[in-house]
Structure formats: structure tokens, C-alpha cells
């Protein structure tokens, strides 16, 4: 297990490149180092270095932080990412890249999840400039480039919505409204906002319940951020609104399902371990598809769309799939 992560003072010139003092802090996590300049995030690790466009890096980092490293692997790109072990997390470089792996150039380091999350949160806050929202669609936010200019702490500290039973039930996650700061998104202005008729007899107001899920989603101010809206034991319906490109390549540690509620998403499906392409799945409104436990996927949504991500939150599953006690696909037929 690696030592606690640290934060260094604003970078000046580094061995990586000549840079003026741009005002950004540099960070370390174990043997990984993270620095940013006007356009790029620079990552070094024993035996290698990596570079990513800073907008792509921040969008990926935002999801990794907000989701608590999510289910399975969060690949920032085809080299760099995290693997969640639920309590601990692996920071990986090249582990899920066949060329790196075959050449033994990969590097993996394990951290306590809370330690790495704290470093990532600090990095995200420091590296996100005023006016740039890593959760927003590119059309709806400013630019992340250039020297450090302010921050956007409120945007990067959004909490993921997790309803216990269903959105809108007394004591559970509240509805979204103009008054609550959630106007209808520009790409969903045609989505009906009517609420269901509810006729509850006295004493049953907490059980006779319904809400307008599509209206709720039309008011989401973030993209690619599955949030729990209804649960049946470990079955979690996690709707999300999608626009542009999923900022990470999600590697499954269990079977996940997608139900396309509106519009269209095109998915690139790759082998989870090697990154080799295995399929392209095009989902239109009403389509349902499984994402097997042995793949990674990245979605492309040309128009803002509604996707119902459906997860099985049973904590025993990653180990069962890893040991091949379960087949990676959900149904035999």
C-alpha cells in the first residue's frame, strides 16, 4: 500500500517541460506525479510518462471523483485509469493495454480509496478554472485552458444523487424544478413536464407515489453521471443524460445494462483487458442491451439523450466474475 498522497506547491519549471509559473499545484500519489500546463495533464510513474489533453483529463477525473471510482475500471484513456476494489483502489498505467502489458511497461499502485480520492478532489479543484464545468456538455461550458484563473468549486463538488426508494418520496431525493435551480435543458425543451396524477388515500401518501422521470432527467445539469432514482434491493436504476462523449472508458467488473429512453447513443465496445475492439452497439429509443462483464465501453451521444443505466450493486459480484464463477454475459439462449 502506498504512503499518503501529497500536494506540492505551484509548479514552476519541471524536468518534463519548460513552463512558466502558471499557478497550478502539482500533486503526487505514491510514485505517480501529476502536473498541468496550459493545455495538458502530465503524468509520470516509474518507467514511464503519459500526457492527456487537460479538458479530457478533467472530465474523466470529475467522474472518477464523483462516482467514488465507480464499478470496475475507470479508464481515462487507453493507458491511464483506476481500478476499484471497494475500499482500496489501483492507480494503473498500461495495465489494460496489450502493448504496455506485453512489453512489461505497465505500472500499478494500490491506495486506500479515501486517500486517493482526497488527492483527486484537490487536483480537480485546483486545476478547474473559473467558467469550466467538467460535468457539462462542451457546448454548455467555458474553456479549461490557459494559466490558472479562479476555480469552479461548486461545480466540481456536486454530489451524486442516490435515492433510497424513489425520487420525490418524502425524505428521499427531491424533485428538480426551476425554483430549485434546475431549469429544463436546452436540448429537452420539448419534453413534457406534466406530473402524474396521484390520488392517495389518507395514510398512504408515502406509498402511492409516482413522478415524472423524463421531466426530472430533462432538468439534469450534468452529463454522463448515472444517479440512483429507484431501487429494488441491489437493483439500482441509475438514469443519466448524455451528450457528446463519455469522458471515460468504463471497464465492467459485473454485467451492466443500458435502456435507451430517448434519442441515440453509439457505443464502442472493447475487450476489457486488452482494449481490442469487439463490437459497435447502436442504441435507439426503447433499445435494451447488456454490457458484459468482460468488456469496456465508451458512448457517443450526438444529441442530449436519456439513458437508464441499470446496475446490480451486490458487492460479491466482482470477485465472482473475476474467479469465473459467473459467465461474463447475463443470459444463455
Amino acid at each position: 500500500m502506498s504512503a499518503p498522497t501529497t500536494v506540492r506547491e505551484p509548479m514552476t519549471k519541471t524536468a518534463l517541460r519548460a513552463a512558466t509559473d502558471l499557478g497550478y499545484k502539482s500533486f503526487t500519489a505514491g510514485k505517480f506525479t501529476f502536473e498541468r500546463d496550459e493545455y495538458f495533464a502530465h503524468i509520470t510513474f516509474p518507467g514511464g510518462r503519459h500526457i492527456m489533453a487537460v479538458d479530457a483529463f478533467l472530465r474523466a477525473l470529475m467522474r472518477d471523483v464523483a462516482w467514488g471510482f465507480f464499478y470496475g475500471t475507470v479508464n481515462f484513456d487507453n493507458v491511464f485509469g483506476t481500478g476499484n476494489h471497494y475500499g482500496t483502489v489501483e492507480r494503473v498505467a498500461g495495465l489494460f493495454n496489450k502493448a504496455y502489458k506485453d512489453a512489461n511497461r505497465h505500472y500499478v499502485e494500490k491506495f486506500q480509496s479515501k486517500d486517493l480520492k482526497a488527492t483527486f478532489e484537490a487536483m480537480l479543484d485546483d486545476w478547474t478554472n473559473e467558467g469550466f464545468d467538467p460535468f457539462a456538455a462542451p457546448e454548455e461550458t467555458g474553456r479549461p485552458f490557459g494559466p490558472k484563473k479562479g476555480n469552479n468549486t461548486a461545480a466540481v463538488q456536486r454530489q451524486r444523487v442516490v435515492a433510497q426508494r424513489m425520487v420525490g418520496i418524502k425524505g428521499d431525493t427531491p424533485h428538480r424544478s426551476d425554483a430549485a435551480g434546475f431549469p429544463v435543458n436546452r436540448q429537452f425543451v420539448d419534453v413534457p413536464q406534466d406530473e402524474p396524477e396521484i390520488h392517495a388515500e389518507p395514510g398512504f401518501e408515502g406509498e402511492v407515489h409516482a413522478f415524472n422521470l423524463y421531466g426530472y432527467l430533462s432538468r439534469s445539469d450534468v452529463t454522463w453521471n448515472p444517479s440512483v432514482c429507484a431501487g429494488v434491493k441491489d437493483s439500482l436504476m441509475c438514469p443519466t443524460t448524455e451528450e457528446y462523449i463519455l469522458p471515460i472508458i468504463h471497464g465492467n467488473d459485473r454485467v451492466e445494462w443500458f435502456i435507451q429512453a430517448s434519442d441515440e447513443i453509439i457505443w464502442d465496445i472493447d475487450d476489457k483487458n486488452t482494449g481490442a475492439p469487439v463490437a459497435k452497439v447502436t442504441m435507439k429509443a426503447g433499445d435494451v442491451a447488456a454490457m458484459p462483464a468482460n468488456i469496456r465501453h465508451r458512448g457517443y451521444s450526438p444529441k442530449r439523450s436519456m439513458l437508464l443505466v441499470w446496475e446490480n450493486n451486490d458487492g460479491r459480484l466482482p470477485s465472482m466474475y473475476a474467479k469465473q464463477e459467473l459467465k461474463p454475459y447475463p443470459v444463455e439462449f
Binding site: D194, A200, H209, I259, A261, E264, V281, V331
Partner: protein
């Protein structure tokens, strides 16, 4: 000009699985409107299965049987308009140890809890130990989040891309 596309029984377009390496059946790719268009009213056809958990596509048309479950379920209306009527039975109709929806013999004795009317995009709670019945004047589609049980119909070979 914004045009958000939702499907319906009358108008849906199915996507595709383009395989480079592997088996298309592993994606269990179907379409809820197509499934419902080929189902009898209130057949609860699994379109998603995650071990014991299922998503059932249901054609709502006319009046359904009364159902109950020992756990919460949810119903998302994806097309049409449907009412859900609820009764709190005098005794829990389904033992705690049994999972999935159970079709009841008829309307159970108990207190009327009320009802909801759903249109496209509306999602209702089907609370544990309550009995519920769907009523729809015209065909529609509801997606039920539940656990596989006696009422779950599986016909993957018919509904999925191969």
C-alpha cells in the same frame, strides 16, 4: 429546433449490434416496444436480467390481474397512459421469503390505498406488500423493475438480436 425522440408501439426504430469479435447474443439486445408489440396484454417479458433481478417489458391494455410482491418494484410508463390502483391487503399476500411479482387470484380484501395515472416518462412505486392492478384504455408499454418470479416470461431467443 429540438426534437427529442421517444419510441412507441406505433413508431420505433431498433438499433444494432455490429460484431467485430464475439457473439451478438452476449449483448441480449432487444427493444421494449418491439417486445410489447408482440406480447399479450400484461405478459411480463424479461428484457433485462442481472442474476435474480429483471426488467420486464409489459404491454398495458385493458385491466391486468392483481399482483403483489414482498419487495418494492417500480413501473415506468414508456408509451400510452395507464392507471395503477393499489390495495393494502389485510395480510401480506406474498411471504417475505418469496421474490418476484405474484399474480393474485382476484382483488384482495383490504384497504384501498389510492391510484396514480401515468403517461410517458412517469414512474410509479409499486410498494412492497401492496396489491396493484394496471388499467389502460389503449395499448401502451410499461417497464417494470423487479425480481425474477412466477410472472416473469423469458423468451430471449425470440426477442434478441442474434
Amino acid at each position: 429546433m429540438v426534437n427529442t425522440v421517444f419510441g412507441s408501439l406505433e413508431n420505433y426504430e431498433k438499433g444494432s449490434v455490429d460484431i467485430i469479435d464475439g457473439d451478438p447474443k452476449h449483448y441480449c439486445f432487444s427493444n421494449v416496444f418491439e417486445v410489447a408489440s408482440q406480447s399479450k396484454p400484461y405478459e411480463r417479458v424479461a428484457v433485462g436480467k442481472n442474476l435474480k433481478y429483471v426488467m420486464e417489458a409489459t404491454r398495458t391494455e385493458g385491466t391486468s390481474p392483481w399482483y403483489s410482491a414482498s419487495h418494492d418494484e417500480s413501473a415506468l410508463c414508456m408509451d400510452g397512459e395507464v392507471e395503477v390502483h393499489y390495495i393494502k391487503p389485510e395480510a401480506a399476500p406474498v411471504p417475505e421469503s418469496k421474490e418476484g411479482a405474484v399474480k393474485l387470484a382476484g382483488e384482495p380484501a383490504g384497504k384501498k390505498m389510492g391510484w396514480v395515472k401515468l403517461r410517458r416518462g412517469h414512474q410509479a412505486l409499486l410498494p412492497k406488500n401492496a396489491a396493484y392492478q394496471f388499467r389502460a384504455a389503449h395499448p401502451g408499454v410499461v417497464l417494470i423493475q423487479t425480481i425474477q418470479g412466477d410472472c416473469t416470461v423469458e423468451r430471449w431467443g425470440d426477442i434478441c438480436l442474434k
